[in-house]
Symmetry: C2
Subunit: 505 residues, 2 copies
């Protein structure tokens, strides 16, 4: 076989693995959206079998030989930014990494996490951490085992971060987070003590769910989510999943007296969805060239549309009149400015996904502290509720009344996803840095938003970020797109400007 | 390996294949209920890959060796009605049969039929047979190729029937159908010429779809469909699919001015669903001992609940007051008797799934004639619309105005399911024979139905039919349960009694 033939064979195999992976994706989506919960153990078997098959196919030594063979060709691997070189670089990275996990561990994780997720849903419903704890115990043990198999220099958590933000280390986060925390804490203090406060009670006004659903769909469509190649459904914990080149599914949840939740979750997931829908399709589909860079970059897309766009004044200059029509009578006495202030209310709160832009990253710091302690063995799962509540007190001055709105609120741990949370904060930092560049390149975005014109921004993101797939690693992409390394300057400036105007500091 | 160990290994492998098959089932359900149609080609690749994997695993020569090995044990194969002997008998049958299909043909059929189904949906929508015809052409060629690979004595159609009603031959159907046709034609003549006719215009009264959905769910639950282990959704062509031991999904379709369609489709699919939900679970799941006997027997369960129960007077004595409450004002001027007569109206019509109990089997005869002619090569796909319309004229005296309500109405051909239609008629015959026996055993069922008590009949079906899985082949099961071979006597008697009373003959 020539290196070129080896490469072709690799592409064929990798696309087949993607097809199988997307099959598991359909099963996963179905489990959260449709499946009768009584079927959970059987679905766990199905997902376990598929995960095992994917792992087996990907870690087949023949794959390693094919990669080595293709790497030997200058034609294929010579130009580091060429399609084949990008694919080979990422396959090499994943292959070396995945060979380190025994198949049994992969299957066990799929089985346990599928069951754990069902238990988490029930535990949260019943406010019964004890129901989830034995499953979390198993998950943490499996994750520690994973870290050991992967290997690491400084901290076992480094080995896990690699899955979500390749190259990022615990040490870097331990450098990045404390000063961010400090600035945010200062802002929280200014906001809390400000005399200007929004009337956020309007956010609890009853908005019928069918009209919320229609309005969410309208907004998602307006910013560029393509419903001919996607869906919007209901799930306990909103998520986005790509099930094929023309099948991207987003989810949200609805409460009659909490439209804010469904609206901004939808914009958030639509941001993820727009990224997935605009990755290179056709021939590239199923290869790194057509895959998202990292969770941090993915999150930058969702946060950009949710916050930088969706919580901006120009956005609501366009949508507020429509909103009033969609919910007749509900907002008659509320001015645009009052509405804008309300959706940007900032205050210490319990639920991460419902928290505001200022406090959000403090929620992440809390989780980061718990995760690193769990993984290094310095914290027992049984001690999580206590530490959680202590940290809430320390960061926010408030303590959740129940674990359901405390340490049981997030789905991630039931999935075995440790190392995922920090990428949310990275996403926030990236989103502000990208947005500022787009705003400069396009000569000011607000005037378009006012008229419902979101297409230029979407096009800019398509061209600057989406089209590259994994051509660049996250840090490099940031430099290529914005001309600077990732910094928290843009994010903090953005917050200071917006919240300074609103709260008068 | 001992024969016992071989058997254990066989069970393990077969259960794994079932898990994979159910994975394809989830994808298939999703395709018809949720998937954006733009994703069809990709989903076709997924289904093709899974079908290929299942075929490969099932036709692995090791499986043949394991079967032979296990068959050699008197302990396992000695008692022909023992669990292991039943499983071995059916695995042997399927293994010998599936080894005859080349993997390439299996994959090609999965790919083509997945695409064909999407094209069929569009062709029906657009009333454009020409859009579907090239796909049907491909399907027929593949099905003919299948028949050739399977082999047959008299008619290539025999080889296809074997998939749905093992052992049934074209010659037997050619004996069974003509006299049935004759009796039905006589009944149709009596009904058409009768002076007593129902006011079936009440069936077109507007019933809001959300209330239809709620009522359908109520009925399905009342007759015994377990919603903790199943769902009811919407699909263009109603179907039932078993996706796991605790996950049985039924579908229906709704039109505001056609509640009859959604109601009886739901009862029909719930009948299928109740069979699936009550097959032996646990250890047996994934083996023939826990599988349905044949499509004819499956259809007997759906038709029994749809017609023998759901179109009976006692059923509506119980449900009609509830119906009036669910659709306030709609049926105020309609007596129970008038409603009962309306849902048993009989008249020549275009759509098989909406046709009545008397004319239904004539629709099947029409399809049987076309299918056998297509498979034997005596009919070109391009000539189907003409032959369809000529046959409609001959059997019913009416001609469909469009192919959408003619030869494009059924999904089956787009799935490559040739030989399926005759099982509908077998189901009707079985349903009447089973129902008469249950009615005798349980001392009259009507008095219970009047009070909403459907549990005794469900229990009888559970014990007499469902619990056996594939212990008996269809014909033997009929003899064991009713003491007689399948005959059309019970069905024709049932029709003559009911329709004779209604139409006065």
């Amino acid at each position: 076989m020539t290196p070129e033939q080896s490469y072709e064979e690799l592409v064929r195999r990798m696309k087949e693995i993607t097809v199988l992976g997307n099959t598991a994706g359909v099963l996963g989506w179905d489990q959260e959206v449709n499946m009768p919960s009584a079927n959970a153990p059987y679905r766990a078997d199905q997902l376990s079998l598929l995960a095992g098959m994917c792992h087996q196919k990907f870690t087949d030594p023949v794959v390693g030989d094919l990669i080595s063979d293709a790497e030997s060709s200058k034609n294929l691997a010579g130009d580091p930014l060429g399609d084949s070189a990008v694919n080979l670089r990422e396959w090499r990275h994943s292959y070396d990494r995945s060979r380190k996990l025994p198949q049994k561990l992969v299957e066990e994780m799929a089985r346990v996490s599928s069951n754990a997720q069902v238990e988490w849903v029930e535990a949260r419903k019943e406010n019964k951490f004890a129901r989830f704890q034995p499953w979390l115990e198993k998950i943490v043990a499996l994750v520690q085992e994973q870290a050991k198999c992967y290997g690491y220099k400084d901290h076992p958590y480094d080995a896990l971060l690699e899955d979500y933000e390749p190259g990022l280390t615990t040490a870097e986060l331990n450098k990045l987070f404390p000063p961010l925390k400090k600035s945010l804490a200062e802002m929280v203090a200014k906001i809390t003590s400000s005399k200007r406060q929004p009337d956020s009670s309007i956010l609890k006004r009853a908005c019928p769910i069918p009209a919320q659903q229609a309005f969410c769909k309208t907004m998602a469509e307006a910013i560029g989510f393509d419903f001919t190649k996607g869906r919007l459904d209901i799930a306990a914990h909103p998520f986005t999943t790509g099930l094929g080149p023309s099948d991207t599914r987003i989810t949200t949840r609805y409460e009659e007296t909490n439209f804010e939740n469904s609206f901004f979750s939808t914009l958030h997931e639509a941001g993820h969805g727009i990224y997935d829908q605009n990755l290179p399709g056709d021939d590239h589909y199923g290869t790194p060239r057509a895959s998202a860079v990292s969770l941090g970059i993915h999150e930058s897309q969702s946060r950009l549309w949710e916050n930088l766009v969706g919580r901006s004044l120009p956005f609501w200059e366009y949508f507020y009149p429509q909103l009033k029509k969609s919910f007749p009578g509900v907002f008659d006495d509320v001015s645009l400015e009052a509405f804008y202030f309300a959706v940007n209310h900032s205050a210490p709160s319990f639920i991460r996904t419902e928290s505001d832009e200022v406090t959000y990253n403090l929620h992440i710091c809390l989780r980061f502290d718990i995760e690193t302690a769990l993984i290094s063995g310095n914290l027992k799962t049984g001690d999580i509720p206590g530490l959680w509540n202590d940290s809430m007190k320390k960061y926010f001055g408030i303590v959740p009344a129940t674990d359901s709105v405390g340490c049981l609120q997030d789905v991630h741990w039931s999935h075995g996803s440790f190392g995922y949370f920090p990428t949310y904060t990275l996403g926030n930092l990236y989103s502000a840095q990208f947005f500022e560049k787009a705003d400069k390149d396009l000569g000011g975005l607000g005037s378009g938003f006012k008229k419902g014109n979101f297409a230029p921004l979407k096009k800019w993101l398509n061209e600057k970020i989406h089209t590259h797939g994994q051509r660049y690693r996250a840090g490099d992409l940031c430099k290529v797109v914005t001309g600077r390394e990732l910094t928290s300057d843009y994010f903090l400036n953005y917050l200071r400007t917006k919240f300074g105007q609103l709260y008068g500091f």
